[in-house]
């Protein structure tokens, strides 16, 4: 039986009683919420609810166990959104899990990712005390930026209980374009052309397929200006297909929910840069690994039937590191960890009782 606290007080007393504890949310990224032996799982999904939302402030504050779908729904009622497409929303991902995993999606291309939208945090520390960092306003430079430190912290520093986010007005309408390219060279050439086109696009993904590559482009804005902007994008993109209205959201939903990953397969996120895609693709050639490059080629999803460890050697060879979301690997991290010594200082300072896991 996992403990399922309903209040921050309860989280505090559970942390104080625990020997070693791992907070979990909706369990949508199972590799990150699977406690190792001797570690207790703290089910945070009961600590849910939106505490404060003033649309004209462009901010909201919610408890960590709040589901993304609840947030997305409320925001859309006020024509606002979290532009970075947090992943696995419909599968039940929570706000806390999304922050702890640093789980931005395709939409981080235009305005930035979780790190750029998280304004404030409250978390329960090693001693069971509640710590607050950041604030509730869109601009703040007071004290160390603890909210950023929590992005990708995987439960290593504490149990997130409350989060404040910046939100943006949601574009009135979206349109999506896709273009198939026969080779990677061609696809990358188109990708770079899109970068320098000075057109405000919201998402730009590269999807390798069996015998071709597909480039996905999403454009949001005012309905009235959209047709003219679409024409311009088409002229940069070349021969492409345009999706509108209901069809338009489908490929992004598929990307966000990682619906293309077969059941039981491993999934690893790997930060890259567009310039490194070519060598990574060469390294993966003839390997049964499904891939998708998102946010303008700034990160890759890699999926394989084997355990994640099978890719460790390749990541090390390429000087890359990966975060395991699906699959059993012993450690959530694969490959290089050049920041380890600085991390160790932070970890020792903030988790002196070693109640939380290592990243």
């Amino acid at each position: 039986m996992n403990a399922k606290p309903k209040s921050i007080d309860e989280v505090q007393s559970l942390v104080r009683q625990a020997v070693r504890i791992l907070p979990g949310g909706g369990g949508t990224k199972p590799a990150l919420s699977a406690p190792s032996e001797g570690t207790e799982l703290l089910d945070m999904s009961g600590l849910a609810g939106i505490l404060e939302y003033v649309p004209e402030e462009f901010t909201f504050t919610a408890l960590a166990g709040t589901r993304l779908t609840d947030i997305n729904l409320l925001l859309s009622e006020h024509k606002q959104y979290l532009p970075f497409d947090p992943i696995l929303a419909e599968r039940g991902a929570t706000l806390g899990g999304t922050v702890a995993a640093g789980a931005s999606g395709s939409g981080r291309y235009h305005y930035g990712g979780i790190r750029d939208f998280l304004l404030g945090v409250r978390y329960v520390n090693s001693q069971g005390d509640v710590v607050r960092g950041g604030g509730k306003v869109v601009k703040n430079a007071a004290g160390f930026d603890l909210p950023k430190l929590m992005v990708g912290s995987l439960g290593a520093l504490g149990v997130l209980v409350e989060l404040t986010f910046k939100v943006f007005p949601r574009p009135e309408m979206f349109a999506t374009l896709c273009r198939d390219c026969a080779s990677l060279d061609e696809a990358l050439e188109v990708l770079y052309r899109m970068f320098s086109a000075r057109l405000d696009i919201d998402s730009l993904d590269l999807e390798p397929n069996q015998d071709h590559y597909t480039i996905w482009v999403r454009l949001g804005g005012w309905e009235e200006a959209l047709p003219a902007r679409l024409e311009r994008i088409k002229s940069v993109l070349g021969a492409c297909q345009v999706l509108n209205n209901h069809e338009e959201a489908q490929p992004w939903r598929q990307a966000r929910e990682l619906g293309w990953v077969p059941d039981g397969w491993s999934l690893i996120k790997v930060p890259v840069t567009p310039g490194r895609i070519q060598s990574l693709e060469a390294g993966l050639a003839n390997k049964p690994v499904l891939r998708r490059y998102f946010a303008g080629g700034q990160a890759a999803w890699l999926s394989l039937a084997e355990p994640p460890m099978a890719l460790k050697g390749l990541l090390v060879t390429h000087g890359l590191s990966g975060l395991v979301l699906f699959g059993t690997s012993g450690s959530p991290r694969l490959g290089e960890f050049p920041e380890r010594s600085f991390y160790q200082r932070v970890k020792t300072a903030l988790d002196p009782l070693q109640r939380f896991v290592e990243v």
Partner: protein
């Protein structure tokens, strides 16, 4: 004894022209843009390479001599104020753009590179470095990074922190670390995000990998005048409520307008109690449409005059007026304090009324310049330092404004940092546990508090 030894050890690294110890040489380094504070350092070194910086930090660690890294000294919170008996490490000569990769849209720069130089170097490729503090023609990236500098265009694309991808730094004990990398996405804790804005307490950045963005295809800048500050504030709420996301939303009050007009003649409308500057940026078709929408909102908001920037020169003139406001106020008064606080946007009206009331209560004039879109206030408190206790009164008034920001749910600093100026107010915003956590982090990186000692925290 100790100081004798560190100076002789430094003399092994630096020729005498780059190791300053004579009082006349030290004077320019005694203060930064928080001019009311002066401290004479033990000495100033002018390193010309990263190796020299690392060696210097290691000597400071060996001799337990505190140090302050300094760029152009534009900190308004006293962030680069020297430490008594400590060393100033002036980084202006580490001013190389080490790599500019227009294809990958990144620049790797040394800490002494001037903010605007990054955009200049990127301009031929249609790129720019987005954070634009008012001091951008002189302030350095190292200082921007240490204090998470902001500017007028933070609403849409964020502050310095949102544009730094990687940092190579020397920690206070001499260890050299590489944080982050070249990707916009990271893995594990966001240590780059922690380092940015740490006010120099975590050591010295030797290299920063910056994200460059494509220059917006089009800007549309509208300047509207209002009969009261309150109406200008309301107009901001209406712009925001209309679903627009402008690149910048700025307000200046009458006193600030007068000062800017006297200094750089930006042709701000005469007789206005407040001006609102709205700037839209992005691709052509979108911006043209938003421009129509925003002018409708502004015309309906009771503006007495609406001026649309005609061409780039006119636009830059409007911004010149805005960005010179701090220094321009110097023409109206012998001395002034620049404040920096944040309130929720919906509280702007209440905050401005309270500042007005406090100004009257203290018999001090206050000019207001603010990033209205962010709720970031910059009250400029005018005083005459020759009058007895005038500085103390101005500081007291500034303190009351900060307490008001906290009460309204905001922050004591939006972009200038805590520095020495607001050390007493940080514990008003954060409780003992929060402060304790930050101090634990500080001690874990710098147990002897050698790096920029005395900033952010009161001892």
């Amino acid at each position: 004894m100790e100081t004798e030894s560190i100076l002789s050890a430094l003399a092994q690294i630096y020729p005498s022209a780059r190791l300053l110890t004579h009082p006349a040489q030290l004077t320019p380094y005694e203060s930064d843009a928080l001019t009311a504070y002066h401290v004479r350092p033990l000495g100033v070194v002018l390193p010309e390479s990263q190796e020299e910086v690392i060696e210097t930090v290691r000597l400071c660690d060996r001799f337990q001599v505190p140090f302050v890294a300094r760029g152009s000294g534009t900190s308004l919170s006293g962030g680069s104020l020297p430490i008594e008996g400590g060393l100033v490490i002036a980084l202006n000569r580490l001013n190389k753009i080490l790599r500019l990769d227009p294809k990958e849209r990144i620049a790797v720069v040394e800490p002494g590179v001037i903010n605007l130089e990054v955009s200049k170097a990127a301009a031929p490729f249609g790129l720019y470095y987005a954070p634009d503090p008012s001091s951008q023609p002189i302030c350095t990236i190292g200082g921007n990074l240490a204090f998470n500098a902001g500017g007028a265009h933070c609403l849409k694309y964020g502050m310095t922190s949102n544009h730094v991808l990687g940092i190579k730094a020397v920690l206070p004990d001499g260890e050299v670390v590489q944080l982050g990398g070249e990707s916009l996405e990271g893995l594990g804790l966001d240590l780059v995000g922690l380092f940015v804005g740490s006010e120099g307490l975590f050591g010295i950045a030797l290299e920063a990998t910056l994200r460059l963005m494509p220059k917006p295809e089009m800007y549309r800048t509208v300047m509207a005048s209002y009969g009261s500050l309150h109406e200008a504030g309301d107009a901001v709420s209406q712009v925001v409520a209309s679903g627009l996301l402008p690149g910048a939303l700025e307000i200046m009050d009458k006193l600030a307008i007068q000062a800017a007009e006297a200094a750089v003649h930006p042709h701000y409308p005469e007789g206005a109690e407040a001006v609102l500057i709205v700037e839209l940026e992005g691709d052509r078709d979108q911006v043209e449409l938003e421009f129509k929408l925003v002018t409708d909102v502004i015309r309906a908001s009771g503006a007495t005059n609406v001026h649309v920037a005609q061409g780039e020169a006119d636009r830059l003139l409007i911004w010149k007026g805005r960005k010179s406001a701090f220094s321009a106020v110097g023409r109206l008064t012998p001395d002034y304090l620049v404040q920096d606080g944040v309130v929720p946007r919906s509280q702007l009206g209440a905050a401005l009324a309270e500042i007005q009331r406090l100004g009257a209560q203290y018999s001090l004039r206050v000019a207001n310049v603010f990033h209205a879109g962010d709720g970031n206030l910059h009250p400029l408190i005018l005083f005459d330092g020759r009058e007895e206790r005038a500085l103390q009164r101005a500081e007291q008034l500034a303190g009351e404004i900060l307490m008001m920001c906290i009460r309204l749910g905001g922050s004591i600093t939006g972009e200038h940092g805590v520095g020495v100026e607001k050390r007493a107010y940080l514990p008003q915003m954060f409780n003992e546990v929060d402060m304790g956590t930050m101090k634990q982090l500080h001690r874990a990186i710098d147990p002897h508090e050698l790096s920029n000692r005395g900033k952010m925290f009161l001892n």
